[in-house]
Amino acid sequence: MSVKADDMTTQAAGAVSVSERVKGERRLGMWLTAPSFIVMILVTAYPLGYALVLSLYNYRLTDPGGREFVGLDNYAVILRDPLWWNDFVTTLAITVVTVAIELVVGFAFAYVMFRIIRGRGPLRTAILIPYGIVTVVSAFIWRYAFALDSGFVNQWLNLADFNWFGERWSALFVICLSEIWKTTPFISLLLLAGLVQVPSEMLEAAKVDGATAWQRLRRVTLPNMKAAIMVALLFRTLDAWRIFDNPYVMTRGANNTETISFLAYRQNVTLVNLGMGSAVSVLLFLTVVAIAWVFVKGFKTDLSQVRGDS
């Protein structure tokens, strides 16, 4: 809240001092936020522009002399390559599966956290632990659980020699499992924030009117949580779309489990094929923009809620 109350009293002193104060506040505001602006823009906008330029060239770092302008050829090559579309499908599958499951399970967790009376502290602590664990560590834990040499899963499920990481969909299953385990707690906290803000009088009124628990959930709770659900959905979808750590550690992208982020990494860093890699980077950026745009338009929830100024 800005100290505008004083403006009324100073108005008597003359219009000049009012605008001076307002101007001073504005200037201070800009100075205080300038470092944040600069850091955020410099490290994202500039490199992105750089990538855009690089993507118009055929440029491998290992052959600097062979750098030549090819226009949009890189993009044509990528969009015609089945590898790109394979990775696209993999990323899409991971995103849809993990987000869907996490929303449901996350809501269940949120509800338990909401209703529990005894053990509230330990429960919240336990919920935060997966959030704090390093993703790479989580990936190793799940990988070793399902691995043939070190894992107990095959034994417990009586699966003998089944190699989980030898095939696409079983490997993706384990990747999704690790991802879900780690990020569901975060989602449940976001949903809990929405849950505690549902007005209890409305729930009481519904109860008095004879609504069942299920009806109360569907008709009162969920609609009042729309903003929180949208925030959770938006961030989780984008996080899942950008997944990198789990596929890298578990399969290094083998057996068709490569994701788009992984492709960008492989082209740019491993193969130092900077021209093509930059094109992949730009395409990745565009897909993220597309998803964000779909969300904002599709859900029509006030953006200021998502941005955090309310």
């Binding site: 944040s36 990538a51 632990i129 959030y131 790479v136 040499d149």
Partner: protein
Amino acid sequence: MRTSRWWTVAGVAIVLYSVFPLLWMLSLSLKPPSEIVSGTPRFLPAAWTFDNFTEVFSQSLFTRALINSIGIALIATLVAVVVAMFAAYAIARLDFRGKRLLLSLALAIAMFPQAALVGPLFNMWRGLGIYDTWLGLIIPYLTFALPLSIWTMSAFFRQIPWEMEQAAQVDGATAWQAFRKVIVPLAAPGVFTTAILTFFFCWNDFLFAISLTSTDAARTVPAALAFFQGASQFESPVPYIMAASVVVTIPVVLLVLAFQRRIVAGLTSGAVKG
């Protein structure tokens, strides 16, 4: 009420969900490497040993990575918290053009695909000479930690009753005394929580760590773990990696145990207080 017990049972199930993989990690870290390749894997170790932990600390690979992780995360957190503090104060207390823009920018950064930056940053950092250095990692960490830091801190700052500063001055305190004795204690929890969340973020990063480093000069723990081959050619790296993982997880667990209320409040922007 009998129904309250069901919720506690559900709570126990959730606790098991969270803790079960950690138990697995602990179990693997206590197994000797020979047990991994023995062909009959079990959940619990057949023979306990702390050798993996002594091995982890005797090798410079991990200790060097640990130093890198701690140093980089601490510095990045410190700078991020200070920068975010200025911005959060402005957002919570002042009215100025660009407030909406800043918050939209923070949102855009939070949604940004980091993998799209590894190519250009790789090239740029090499040109600037900061490839494979602490600074080379601190800069992107700072950038991507700012949105969460700004949101968390401005949410905390919005709840501070700033009028108390003026009230203290009416009671005879100087401006500096009012700030130090009234505002600072009220703002400290928010700053502290933001620091914890930012630290977690930097501690956890993997993509930049493997893209912008190549030697143990700046390689952090997640990257070192992913590249580790094994104590020797013939030994399974599994227990070693899990022992290192346990070491890296302990500070996280301790932080969460000690500051659960604050962290939850921070992540829910103050909606859930404790």
